[in-house]
């Protein structure tokens, strides 16, 4: 009797759809990524109301030691020595884009005097829209 030769199946893992999944993930990350222009470590004040800040907003950050950093929203933030430099930077940014949104990212323990200087500089530079960056206040925060 003639025996049928058994067909040998090569073991393989189906990977055809792997690239599809991978590219789907890439598209997700590409759409959601926002490059952080300011990496100052601060403990933000907590608020109940929080609104989404427009992308590519300019940043003025104040760290717990009172050091001020500024960014036009495109470049990485740079240290400035005084609030007057915030005024010149903000005036330059507003001259290019009068609708530019500024974000004040300050540590909650910084004295009001320091934040006041920054807000005053933004006011003098004719900045209209300012956001005070904050964390979400929860019921446990009291």
């Amino acid at each position: 009797m003639k025996l049928k030769a058994t067909i040998e199946h090569k073991p393989n893992i189906p990977t055809a759809s792997m690239a599809d999944i991978a590219f789907l993930l890439i598209i997700f990350f590409m759409l959601t990524i926002t490059f952080e222009v300011d990496k100052t470590q601060v403990v933000l004040p907590k608020t109940t109301l929080r609104y989404e800040i427009p992308k590519q907003s300019a940043y003025v950050s104040i760290d717990p030691n009172g050091r001020i950093r500024v960014s036009d929203g495109n470049e990485q933030s740079a240290l400035v020595s005084a609030a007057d430099e915030v005024l010149s930077m903000a005036a330059g940014v507003i001259a290019m884009d009068p609708q530019k949104v500024f974000v004040v990212k300050s540590d909650g323990e910084v004295s009001w005097e320091k934040v006041d200087e920054v807000i005053d500089a933004l006011k003098r530079a004719k900045v209209r829209d300012v956001y005070l960056l904050s964390d979400q206040r929860t019921v446990t925060d009291g």
């Binding site: 792997m18 109301l49 609104y51 209209r128 005070l132 960056l133």
Partner: protein, 145 residues
């Protein structure tokens, strides 16, 4: 005679595509930082050299001491008592300015706390948003009397 010709492979080599794709995923995963991108909007009024004069009696003054204590129209007050205090005044005059004046040594978080509370006025039964004003030290020195 049978010719033994090597037939060219008609498949597009895609075996490395997944490697490249995962390399890109790893790059995006590492560079993505989930940061706080929300905050309180703080519309700045135009820097006017000749601002409208507001009589002291017409406005409500909230002073914030460095300890975080609040003095509203000369009286100490808790944060949650501000809106009930303002309610009858704002019902009579919804445009009444409410001025927040923190001490220079007051931590910034206390000012944000008060500002956040006032912004929630409508949630606490007020008909209109509160007319909040936070004058800077320069404005206080120039125009305060």
């Amino acid at each position: 005679m049978k010719l033994d010709r090597d037939r060219p492979d008609d498949e597009i080599p895609t075996s490395s595509m997944a490697d490249i794709a995962f390399l890109l995923i790893v790059f995006f995963m590492i560079t993505t930082t989930f940061t706080a991108t929300r905050g309180l909007d703080f519309a700045l009024p135009e820097d006017d050299d000749d601002p409208p004069v507001v009589e002291k009696e017409e406005s409500v003054l909230i002073e914030i001491l460095p300890s975080g204590e609040l003095i509203v129209d000369q009286d100490p007050m808790q944060l949650h008592e501000i809106i009930p205090y303002l309610k009858p005044k704002l019902e009579r005059n919804p445009k009444k300015p409410v001025i927040i004046r923190p001490d220079t040594a007051t931590p910034y978080k206390y000012m944000v706390q008060v500002y956040d509370e006032l912004r929630q006025g409508e949630d606490h039964g007020l008909a209109e948003p509160i007319n909040i004003s936070v004058p800077t030290q320069r404005e206080i020195q120039s125009f305060w009397y």
